[in-house]
Symmetry: C2
Subunit: 148 residues, 2 copies
DNA sequence: ACTGAAACGAAAGATGC
DNA sequence: GCATCTTTCGTTTCAGT
């Protein structure tokens, strides 16, 4: 499943992980490649599924979601469909990871207030027992993986 | 701290959260605005800190990190500097949230193998007691917040 | 706060190395 | 797999509303 990536591929990935909206010409300048060669490399990385997308990041507080929480969910049964439906519907759930261990799901949830978070927790509590931690701060700026 | 956003702002945010590399002209077409008006709106959203950046997302398995784990860290002391240093150095740590509750930090860690994860855990264990959950799957495609 | 026009720079595609 | 060239399209700036 691993793709072989050379120095230039990693340089491209590093640049686009930090600044996804730079032009292909600018990207080419930064990695010392012509615009067309850069375009071809980026196309390949996308086609191979190495780069899966480009996303704007938003300040949750500024858009009205000042409360961020991590919810761990202990989900006993095997009937995952209802939970999948909730994940799709409730846009306050920003991320969901299924994990080993006692808590099968770990969710990241954005809420407009503690009252709103309470409502969301009530919905999730229908699926199993939950453990909620409210996030104080995010001590790490965004970054993706680096070359090994 | 909240910024007032109208329908057009939210439409712009929604588009850029899904596809950050579309041209400003294309974005303008999608939200029914001229290129120059679109440019000005995006510039404002960036200047206000509503949009904090644009990032390429990468398939961790394809770039050589097939093991993803969530690590909860119970950090007793108040000396956070050494941990901050580790966060900055160890690029395998992709995310770090400081939270309420018994486990003060929740980290997302990418590893090349279980052996590599073991090494990383040993480093983290120096700071406090850890609970590690390996991620099976990510049942939710990436998405940011939606309009309330 | 948005439109429209004009100059500049970038993207896309074809060709040759 | 990469560079160069040309056409087409996007970006930027500014006048005007």
């Amino acid at each position: 499943m691993t793709v072989n990536l050379d120095d230039v591929d990693w340089a491209i990935i590093a640049q686009l992980q930090q600044e996804a909206r730079i032009s292909l010409s600018e990207l080419g300048r930064r990695v010392s490649l012509s615009p067309s060669a850069t375009t071809e490399r980026v196309r390949q990385l996308e086609a191979l599924g190495v780069i899966t997308g480009y996303h704007a990041m938003v300040d949750l507080t500024k858009v009205g979601y000042p409360v961020l929480a991590i919810v761990r969910l202990k989900y006993p049964g095997n009937h995952h469909q209802p939970l999948r439906r909730l994940l799709a519907e409730r846009r306050e759930i920003l991320e969901c990871l299924r994990t080993t261990g006692d808590d099968c799901y770990t969710l990241k949830v954005a809420a407009a207030s503690m009252g709103h978070l309470e409502t969301l927790m009530d919905e999730l509590a229908g699926f199993g027992s939950t453990t909620t931690s409210v996030v104080y701060s995010q001590p790490l700026p965004y970054r993706g993986p680096d070359r090994p």
